[in-house]
C-alpha cells in the first residue's frame, strides 16, 4: 500500500492506531564529529507506516538501534515526531494538549523494560499505584480497592501485604507485575510493552509473559510488544513488524515470518536465533558483517550493504512496502 488516503483510514472504527510516514530525526551534535564531515543527524525512525486494529497484538522486532523503542515512544507521545502523522482513535495525537492529553494518557500506557528503575525507590507500592488514580481524579476511598484489584489482575499473591513495601524489598518478577498493574489500573485500550522481560531471569520470565497474555485477552487490550527476541515475540504476538535502521523491512503474521521469512534481513534474523537443542544447523548466516551506523545509512535500501541479494536498483531507489502473500515487504526482490 503506498500510504493510505488520510481521511479514509481515520474513519475506520476497527483501526485503533494508524501511523503514516512517521519520522524521528534528531541532531546528535558533537563538534569534533561535525568537523570530520560526519553527519550528526540520527534518523531513529525514518518513514514508518502501519495500522493496528483493536484487540490486535503486534510485535515490533529488531536489533538495537533499529528504532523500535523510538517508535513505541512516538506512539505514546513520550517523544515528539519530526514528520508524518499518528492517529489514535481517529485523532492525530500531535496536537493533543491539556485535558485531551490526560485522556490519551489514561487510554494509552507503557510497560517499562527495567522494573528496578520504573518505580521511585522512595515510594511504597501503594503510593506508586495511587499516582495514576490521583491524576484521573479517582476519589481517595475508591483507590485502595482498585489497587488491590489491579495487583490481583497481575496475579501477585496476597497483594495486601505488598502495599507498604518499598521496591527494593520485591523481586524482579514481582516488581514487573507492579509495573504492569500501574499501567492497567485505569483500564487503558492500548499498551506498549518495551522488552518487559529482558531484565528478568529466564525462570521468572515465563510467569510475567503468561500474565501479560492473560491480561491482554481478559481486557481485550490492543498491544505492541517491543523486543529483539523473536521467540518471545512469537509467544505473545500474532503479527510482527520487523524493523531495521529506522525502517520497516517486513510486516505480517508471526507464524508465517518464522516459517517462511521473505525479506533477506528477516531470513538472517530467523536463522540467527539459537534454539535450545544441540543439533541445530551451524552453517554461516546469509548476511554481511557491517555494523549499521544510524548517522549515515546507505543510500536506497538501508540494508543493501549487508544484503546477500543486493543489486544496482537497491542502491538507487528506496524499496516501497509491497503486499506479498500474507505479508508486506519492503524489498526490490518482490
Amino acid at each position: 500500500m503506498d500510504g493510505p488516503g488520510m481521511n479514509m483510514i481515520t474513519k475506520r472504527p476497527d483501526i485503533l492506531v494508524s501511523v503514516f510516514d512517521a519520522k524521528l530525526h534528531y541532531d546528535v551534535g558533537g563538534a569534533f564529529a561535525a568537523m570530520r564531515g560526519k553527519s550528526t543527524v540520527v534518523k531513529a525512525v525514518d518513514g514508518v507506516s502501519f495500522d493496528i486494529r483493536r484487540g490486535e497484538s503486534v510485535g515490533l522486532l529488531g536489533e538495537s538501534g533499529c528504532g523500535k523503542t523510538s517508535m513505541g515512544r512516538l506512539l505514546l507521545k513520550l517523544e515528539e515526531k519530526t514528520g508524518g502523522t499518528i492517529h489514535f482513535n481517529g485523532e492525530e495525537i500531535g496536537a493533543v494538549r491539556g485535558s485531551g492529553l490526560k485522556k490519551f494518557r489514561s487510554k494509552a500506557q507503557l510497560i517499562f523494560q527495567n522494573p528496578f528503575d520504573a518505580i521511585n525507590p522512595r515510594f511504597t507500592i501503594r503510593q506508586t499505584l495511587s499516582e495514576p488514580l490521583e491524576n484521573a481524579d479517582i476519589p481517595k476511598r475508591e483507590r485502595e480497592d482498585r489497587i488491590i484489584a489491579a495487583l490481583e489482575l497481575v496475579k501477585l499473591p496476597e497483594p495486601a501485604q505488598f502495599l507498604d513495601r518499598y521496591p527494593h524489598q520485591l523481586s524482579g518478577g514481582q516488581l514487573q507485575r507492579v509495573v504492569m498493574a500501574r499501567a492497567l489500573i485505569l483500564q487503558p485500550e492500548f499498551v506498549v510493552a518495551d522488552e518487559p522481560v529482558s531484565m528478568l531471569d529466564v525462570s521468572v520470565r515465563a510467569g510475567v509473559l503468561n500474565v501479560f497474555r492473560d491480561v491482554r485477552d481478559r481486557l481485550g487490550l490492543t498491544a505492541i510488544y517491543i523486543s529483539h527476541d523473536l521467540a518471545l515475540v512469537r509467544y505473545v504476538c500474532e503479527r510482527t513488524i520487523v524493523m531495521y535502521l529506522g525502517g520497516i523491512m517486513e510486516d505480517g503474521p508471526t507464524e508465517d515470518i518464522v516459517r517462511e521469512p521473505l525479506h533477506p534481513y528477516t531470513k538472517a534474523l530467523v536463522a540467527a536465533v539459537p534454539v535450545p537443542n544441540p543439533d541445530q544447523s551451524h552453517d554461516p548466516l546469509p548476511i554481511g558483517r557491517g555494523a549499521p551506523d544510524p548517522r549515515n545509512p546507505p543510500s536506497g535500501c538501508v540494508f543493501r550493504d549487508r544484503c546477500p541479494a543486493a543489486h544496482a536498483r537497491c542502491a538507487a531507489e528506496i524499496p516501497q512496502p509491497k503486499p506479498v502473500g500474507t505479508r508486506t515487504v519492503a524489498c526490490h526482490l518482490y
Partner: protein, 325 residues
C-alpha cells in the same frame, strides 16, 4: 590540524560571556552614588574646572554614549586614565600582570604536583591510618582563610625565624638588568617563597581530593580488573591505567583552578604587599580610582574566562573519546 570551524559554538559562547562581564563591569562602576571623581576634585576648583576635568575623563556625556566610548576603547586595548596616577591604566596593568601570573602558576604547579602524587597515594592506601589522618588535615587547608595562613607564615618564617623577607618582590635598591634576570634571581625567589607557599598549601587540597576520588572510581572499572587478570604488574595497573585515566579530569581542573587562584591572590598579595593585580585592585577601590580598579578587575576576569575556555578545550583534547569522536 583539524579546523576549528565547528568549535564556533564554544567561541560564540565565549564572546557572549566576555561582553556580559564587560557590560556588568561598566554598569557597576557607573551606578555608584555621587560623582565618580568626587575624591579627586579639589573643593577649591571652580565649576568650569570641575566640568573640564570631568570632560577630560568623558564623564560629562550621557551614560549610553560613555558605554559606546568605553567599548570602543576596550576593543583597542585602551583602558582609560587612572584618576590617581594620571597615567594610562593599561600601562600599569601590563607591568603588574606578570607578578600575579608568576605567583599564581608557581603556587599552583607545586600544589598540583603534590596533590596528584598525594591523592594517588591516599587512594592506593584507601582505609589505612594514613588516609584517616590525611583527609581531615587536607580539609582544614580547604577551610583556612588564605590571608590568615599568610599571616601565620609571615609571623613564623619572617618575623620569628627571620629566614625570609616580609614582603614585596625584591630587596630595596637591588637592580636587575633584564626581565629574566629579575625573575630568576635568588632575591626574587626568596620574596616569592612565602606567598607562593601560602597559596600552594591552600590550593593543594583540590587536586588531592579530586585525584583520590577519581582513582577510587577508576580502580573499580572493568579494564583495571582486566589488567590484573592479564597478570600485569601492580605498578602498570595502578600507574599506567588507573592513574592515567584519573589524571584526565584533574588536568582540566588545573585551568579552572587558575581562575579561582586569581581570586585568592587578592588577599595574599595584600598580606605580602606583592605588587600584583589583586593588590592593585584593592588599593584602587580603596582610593576610589575607578578606571584603574575597572582595568584590574577586567584583566583578572579575562584570565578567568580564558582559563574556563582552556579547561573545555583541554578536556576535549585529552580524552580520546571526544577528540576521536
Amino acid at each position: 590540524m583539524k579546523n576549528f570551524k565547528a568549535v564556533g559554538g564554544r567561541l560564540l559562547q565565549l564572546a557572549l560571556v566576555l561582553w556580559a562581564v564587560v557590560t556588568i563591569l561598566f554598569l557597576m562602576f557607573r551606578l555608584m552614588p555621587g560623582n565618580p571623581m568626587a575624591a579627586y576634585i579639589d573643593p577649591t576648583f571652580t565649576l568650569e574646572q570641575q566640568q573640564q576635568l570631568m570632560a577630560q575623563f568623558g564623564l560629562d556625556k550621557p551614560l549610553w554614549q560613555q558605554y559606546l566610548i568605553y567599548l570602543g576603547n576596550l576593543l583597542q586595548g585602551e583602558l582609560g586614565q587612572s584618576f590617581r596616577y594620571r597615567e594610562p591604566v593599561g600601562q600599569r596593568i601590563w607591568i603588574l600582570l606578570p607578578n600575579t601570573l608568576i605567583l599564581t602558576f608557581s603556587s599552583l604547579i607545586v600544589a598540583y604536583v603534590f596533590g596528584i602524587l598525594a591523592g594517588a597515594y591516599l587512594a592506593w592506601r584507601r582505609g589505612s591510618w594514613v588516609e584517616q589522618a590525611a583527609i581531615p588535615l587536607v580539609l582544614t587547608t580547604r577551610a583556612m582563610p588564605e590571608f590568615w595562613l599568610g599571616m601565620v607564615m609571615l609571623a613564623i618564617f619572617s618575623f620569628s625565624l627571620g629566614w625570609l623577607p616580609a614582603g614585596g618582590t625584591r630587596a630595596p635598591g637591588a637592580e636587575y638588568s633584564g626581565f629574566l634576570d629579575l625573575y630568576t634571581s635568588r632575591d626574587f625567589l626568596a620574596h616569592l617563597a612565602l606567598p607562593a607557599a601560602t597559596l600552594a598549601i591552600y590550593s593543594q587540597g583540590l587536586p588531592l581530593l579530586l585525584m583520590r576520588s577519581n582513582m577510587l572510581d577508576v580502580m573499580k572499572e572493568d579494564f583495571v580488573t582486566m589488567a590484573r587478570i592479564k597478570g600485569l604488574s601492580n605498578w602498570t595497573v595502578v600507574v599506567r591505567h588507573a592513574a592515567r585515566n584519573a589524571l584526565l579530569p584533574v588536568m582540566t581542573s588545573f585551568a579552572i583552578a587558575v581562575g579561582y587562584q586569581l581570586q585568592g591572590n587578592v588577599v595574599v598579595e595584600s598580606v605580602f604587599s606583592w605588587p600584583g593585580l589583586g593588590r592593585e585592585l584593592v588599593n584602587a577601590v580603596a582610593a576610589s580610582d575607578y578606571p584603574l580598579a575597572q582595568g584590574a578587575f577586567l584583566m583578572i576576569a579575562l584570565v578567568v574566562i580564558f582559563m574556563n575556555l582552556l579547561a573545555d578545550l583541554l578536556y576535549a583534547f585529552l580524552d580520546p573519546r571526544i577528540s576521536h569522536a
